[in-house]
Amino acid sequence: MSDRSPAVAAQPCAREVRSVVAIRMTVDGTQYDDDVEPRMLLVHYLRERLGKVGTVVGCDTSNCGACTVHLDGHSVKSCSVLAVQADGHEVTTVEGLAKDGALHPMQQAFHENHALQCGFCTPGMIMQAIDLLNENPNPDERAVREGLEGNLCRCTGYQNIVQAVLDAAGRMTGRAESDVEPTAEAVSPRHAAPVAGGAGG
């Protein structure tokens, strides 16, 4: 009951806690070299070592999805990944989406569709929604709802989130054809082709 997280709880409070491992990862386009405890969660590394506090912690059982980031272009719950597991990989957080002052289409869609209230789930929701569209560029409402079921929101009843994702799908597929949507490529190179090929909305 007093445990702060399963990962922390699993570790004995002995000498090996002090041992550290050298890691290197790229986060939002910047490369970092660090020494971390092997038990350190990726989300804690992002928040406490790199100051990437845009990514938040909402639970300790990987149910809420508030901490969702992209690891090599795929969404992961960063509370369920150890920092050492991200060694050598590329991480994108909500703070790395906007390019040159231009919002990512998903961010824009969240704003225009009032898809956030308190905003705490929003970073994770946006990252998951982008991944969802990378997998399925033209989802219907049911597919969006199911694609977001690992991300909890307590404010919106999801209605406007779903609307925002459908709206973003239109924006992103429309733009992908003319290859002006930089973030989809940067975030998810492996899915750039399906995004482009899925244009139709």
Partner: protein, 822 residues
Amino acid sequence: MTATIDAPDTPDVPTAEIGKARRRKEDARLITGRTRWTDNIQLPGMMHMAILRSPVAHAKITNLDTTAARALPGVHAVYTGADLADEQGSLPCAWPITADMKAPQHPSLAVDTVRFAGEAVAVVVARSAYAAADALEAIDVDYEDLPLVLDMESALADGSPLVHPDLGTNRNAVWVFDSGEAGTGDNVDDAIGGAEVTVTRRFRQQRLIPAFMEPRSVVVDPTGEQFTVWSATQIPHVLRVMMALTLGIPEHKLRVIAPDVGGGFGGKLQLTPEEVLTFLVARRMGRPVKYTESRSESLVSAHHGRDQIQDITITATRDGAVTGLKVDLMADMGAYLGLVTPGVPILGAFMYNSIYKFPAYRFTCTNVFTNKTITDAYRGAGRPEATFAIERIMDELAAELGMDPMELRRKNWIKHEEFPFTTVCGLTYDSGNYEAATERAMELLGYDALRMEQKQRRERGDTVQLGIGISTYTEMCGLAPSRVLGSLSYGAGGWEHAAVRMLPTGKVEVVTGSSPHGQGHETAWSQIISDRLGVPFEDIEVIHGDTQTSHKGLDTYGSRSLSVGAIAAVKAADKVIEKARPIAAHMLECGEDDLEWDAGTFTVRGTSNSKSIQDIALAVFAAHDLPDGVEPNLDSEATYDPENFSFPHGTHLCAAEVDTETGEVKLRSYIAVDDVGVVVNPMIVDGQVHGGLAQGIAQALFEEAVHDETGTLVTGTLADYLVPSASDLPAFTLDRTESRATSNPLGVKGVGEAGTIASTPAVVNAVVDAVRQFGIVDIEMPCSPRRVWRALQGVADAEPTAPGPGGGLGSIDANEPQEEVQ
């Protein structure tokens, strides 16, 4: 699509920004991660606190050894209840509902006895959160179990174990409202004695958890002349007062800041043990300290909501005119009293009669202590329970009478021409039009066609049956007229404060005592003041949530921000205009009576000579040429105390399909037609309704805080406490009607709680309606597939009320494994 019933007729209400679906100012930071959650804060020298919590529900602490924890690297200190007993005081309850209410001591850190599983028993302060969590593992505690009591009826029985032996009883208070005694109606016993038709039901309001997405967090910095407290709270102003009173800190030495706050729903309307402990530790150590709870801690220790048993008796004539309503309530306080714990059920006391013209009414509430987490405000706080009970029993009465449930409501509700209407509780509803909202909702649902389909499905014995649920709700919000709160023994007023500051360049700062945590106040207040002062929306900054910069306020809860807080801002803006008027007259060399004010500009009547409010603000800044005796300042403040509650209403209709073979409930459509008065921002209002619906539907179908027989919360993670996901909810169909509130100059009513209040009975009524043909007259919430299936098998009544845990990690029920794995 809003049907306007009462055309705006107040000439002083501008309309340019009000009514516009402005995209929110708040979003830019939140969608890019430029956020200021309390847990983001890092201060020089900051230490981290972790809390050891009791795993048992009622026990003596016989041994608490912190030696090993204290010796671990990075650990600065470990404190127990004994260490802090002299300085921690007793957490406050600001609502002593009766003169003889039993109020126990409420320590932040248990001293020698724990009374619920999850209660704090020790704190560790360490250089990092990881080190603090490690040290918790090294604390050794021995507990000697005490007899415990978990359900209210057992707690009230003779010989029950006592949660607080020094109180001599588990009965916290008994509170009664009787319309006969109050002179607001007849005697309900007479109504029952002479009734042609009487229906009684027992409804159970299961225990819920607010489950705001941002776990609570607090940072205390003791290094300045003042203590600065950042907290994920709804109530920075109330927190400051309460913390000062509880700990004996001079109030002027405390500054409380609510930075970005990730939802509350009543769950952050509290002075928490965690806030007190972080403060005490930081003060002792002279260094900043941060505490952030885990989700598991939040679910077990942040206050819960609901948890009531409602015995309802309704009487009527054979032709369907209601004649009396009697409510006997038991409300579970949990182990202690929080800020407004005992008053939550009382907030519902005046709402059981709802929109109906009952001639006689009695409400009796018995508050009970048990060995569980405390309850307190959760979205709606008392009013969802009341609305559920009345809307459910109206359906039961309709079934008894053989009437269509909407027809029964129509026969008994207040007609639109009868407003203002004084109810059997003595409240005066200022405006409303139940007919219009209902007509629109029935049209959107296709009520008659669905009734036909329902009939056909019944006739052909379809395995999937259809039910239609109705909720024609109203609620009282906009808390509240101070004198009314005083008459209910509430410990504070219900006013709100605001200031409007004119900057030299014509920009405007609006300071509000409301404290948003997702509601969009910055956008809505900007719209309102833009209209009032005639300055652009973009030129307005809304300042809130810091007792240093918004020094006075009563914060955000009870759907009060717009109908109280924004009205204070309107009044302050009006004072700015009045202060500007003599200056404008001086600048334009005319008399004040010759000036016309419109859209931000004073114009000399009949001429084109004018000065804008921005011109005047600059002239005031220079102060070179002001009229004699006029101070060089347009800034103004106002403190507004509402004269009445606000009474939003609406009609919600739910069509639910029940699979009679599996018990699964599927919401086919959900229609919400709400009347919240004048709408400032329809996009934000829709969002409030969407979220409210989700929470109300979740009570009906998914959520329940379950304790096992040892008092352990078995729904202690988000895998077990079933906050719905996007895939669990349908798309909602919304519309509005509009009856202006007459109690405030904007004509607005509250909207924050309406969706939650309305939706729970609509859903359960639909579920019961689908299966009523099988003789089922009630299914306890949440209407899980298991509950519905059991009801269909006719075993529901034989089962104890204790339900199984949810569908996640803790869902394996050791007593009935075969049930869960089938």
